[in-house]
């Protein structure tokens, strides 16, 4: 396939994905705004005042980056897993599979769709946070780069989940039983310095910790982890998941009989 045609195919998948999540905005863009808004109000504003400082910052300022990242992670993952599985379920994935679009373009298209939703929700939640605190971003490019990498990682994870899924239950099990605990224990609401040594060691195995802390470093300039190490890990996760998803796609897992 010509490079230009590959680009058109990629753009087509991306536009279709954006059209999907904007068409059902009441299910995709509004709920994270409401949920995270409540977190800001209750944990940040009401309870946060009594907590005082965390990591040298007001509690609301400390949790804002983590909550934004939580919304990005959940939505990037949900977008790709539900969209790709829905394509499988309705069999419209066959439209792409019978066409000459290469597997890696299919993968990139769906991942780009997840990244687009991650950024859209991240932007909405960031704007909402301005009602509760004044947000000053220390490192703009690093912040955007971390959102990009995190969205890519979780979009790829959502893609792999959708490949294996046979029912709609299969795409809700991982977010409920894996993703949510990882996010809540990933330093969104607290600094891992509060944990005993063993807890800190366990937390260091949680990939979300690196995402949240690198993002927090981008906004506040403070982090519980080494930024370069965290960026390296994020890129490693992206590459590993990309290769895995591409391998499964080539093998036809969950798609071709």
């Amino acid at each position: 396939m010509l490079a230009n045609h590959k680009y058109i195919a990629f753009e087509t998948i991306l536009i279709k994905e954006i059209r999907r999540f904007t068409r059902i905005w009441l299910q995709t863009l509004v709920p994270p705004a409401i949920t995270i808004g409540l977190y800001f109000l209750i944990f940040g504003n009401l309870i946060g005042r009594r907590i005082g400082e965390m990591g040298g910052y007001n509690y609301i300022d400390f949790i804002v980056p983590g909550l934004i990242m939580m919304a990005v992670i959940q939505n990037a993952y949900a977008n790709v897993s539900s969209s790709f599985f829905s394509n499988k379920f309705q069999r419209c994935i066959e439209e792409i599979l019978v066409s000459p679009v290469p597997n890696y373009v299919i993968l990139l298209g769906f991942v780009a769709g997840g990244v687009a939703r991650g950024f859209a929700v991240g932007l909405i939640v960031t704007i909402m946070s301005l009602f509760f605190t004044s947000l000053h971003i220390e490192h703009v490019f690093l912040t955007l780069f971390v959102v990009l990498l995190t969205s890519v990682v979780f979009s790829l994870a959502g893609f792999i989940n959708a490949l294996y899924a046979n029912t709609f239950d299969d795409i809700s099990i991982i977010p409920t039983f894996v993703l949510t605990p990882l996010i809540y224990l990933g330093g969104v609401f607290y600094s891992i310095e509060l944990l005993p040594a063993f807890g800190q060691w366990i937390s260091a195995l949680n990939p979300v910790l690196y995402m949240v802390n690198t993002f927090r470093y981008g906004i506040l300039g403070t982090s519980d982890v080494n930024i370069f190490w965290a960026l390296f890990l994020l890129m490693l996760f992206s590459a590993g998941l990309f290769v895995t998803a591409l391998y499964l796609l080539r093998r036809g897992t969950g798609l071709r009989q």
Binding site: K6, I8, A9, T12, Q90, C92, E95, Q257
Partner: protein, 311 residues
């Protein structure tokens, strides 16, 4: 328009498929379909028709064997073979939430078409299939027949040289079915090779020049429609009379069986090798005036059933 070269649109050699559950769907299929042909692939449910189409369109992986599309191997020339192929599946497989126009435009994008060209093709095929007025409707709002036509428009948007239709007129009313036949015939006249699977044997008889019958994963008949119909030994003709019949016509011939149906009609069974002019002479001699005559049996259906029985 496509150049018409005397080459095969499809060449299938020793194609076998055994599914993960152990079911052997194809047991070594050999099949050639010439370019510009209108080809029928018939067979009962579960015979292996959809599996063949699935393998050609890469949705199903062959256990062994090879398929060439216009001389190029499907496994090694993925881009070229997919570009020359349009597939209309048996089951509805587009998003029920997308607009009709968007579905066709999106498919154009998968083939590297966009902008004015994609819009032009989308309009062309939606108009040809009487769906242009529905372009802004959500696809789930379409009737069953419209959904089938939408899948045809979608399969044609990149103007493939080979169009494969898996039971395209299933559940479509007679009037619409005939308009789809005309459209497919026009497409074939313009150079598109068409392979059709259908349960309507009348459809295959009217449209297709060549035919293969598949049963239990094997080709049991592969010939031209003319030759196949030529194998038919007997035919039954139904006559409607102008006036009331007082007696059953007597042809005085052991090869001809005559049966009165009601007061104004009777049927005659005779071998296909004979001409029917003699019948009219006898009937005129007995003072019976004929208003209309038709062939009673679905000729292809008879052959189809006998092919399956003889296997």
């Amino acid at each position: 328009m496509h150049n018409i070269n005397p080459q095969n649109a499809i060449s299938i050699r020793n194609l076998q498929k055994t599914y993960a559950n152990g079911h052997q769907a194809l047991k070594g299929i050999d099949l050639d379909v010439q370019e510009n042909d209108f080809f029928a692939l018939l067979g009962p449910n579960g015979a292996g028709k959809s599996t063949i189409i699935g393998i050609i369109s890469t949705l199903v992986r062959a256990t062994s064997g090879s398929i060439q599309v216009f001389g190029q191997d499907v496994a090694t020339h993925v881009y070229e073979t997919k570009l020359s192929l349009g597939v209309v599946p048996q089951e509805i497989n587009f998003s029920q939430f997308e607009k009709v126009g968007d579905i066709v435009m999106t498919q154009a994008g998968y083939y590297g078409l966009r902008g004015a060209l994609a819009r032009e093709r989308t309009e062309k095929y939606l108009r040809k299939l009487d769906l242009w007025e529905k372009r802004d409707n959500r696809s789930r709002m379409l009737s069953g027949g419209m959904k089938r036509r939408l899948m045809i428009a979608r399969a044609l948007v990149h103007e493939p040289r080979l169009l494969i239709l898996d039971e395209p007129t299933a559940g479509v009313d007679i009037e619409l079915r005939r308009s789809m036949w005309e459209f497919l015939q026009e497409l074939n006249r313009n150079g598109t090779t068409i392979i059709l699977t259908t349960h309507y044997l009348e459809e295959a008889e009217n449209l297709c020049r060549n035919i293969a019958i598949i049963n239990q994963g094997q080709i049991v008949e592969n010939t031209s429609m003319r030759k196949l119909l030529g194998k038919l030994a007997r035919q039954t003709l139904v006559f409607d009379t102008c006036e009331e019949l007082t007696l059953t016509p007597d042809f005085n011939d052991p090869d001809i069986e005559c049966l009165r149906i009601d007061s104004h009609s009777f049927e005659v069974s005779m071998s296909t090798s004979r001409d029917i002019n003699g019948l009219f002479s006898v009937l005129s001699g007995q003072g019976i005036l004929i208003k209309a005559m038709r062939n009673k049996t679905n000729r292809l259906e008879e052959l189809f059933l006998s092919s399956l029985k003889n296997q």
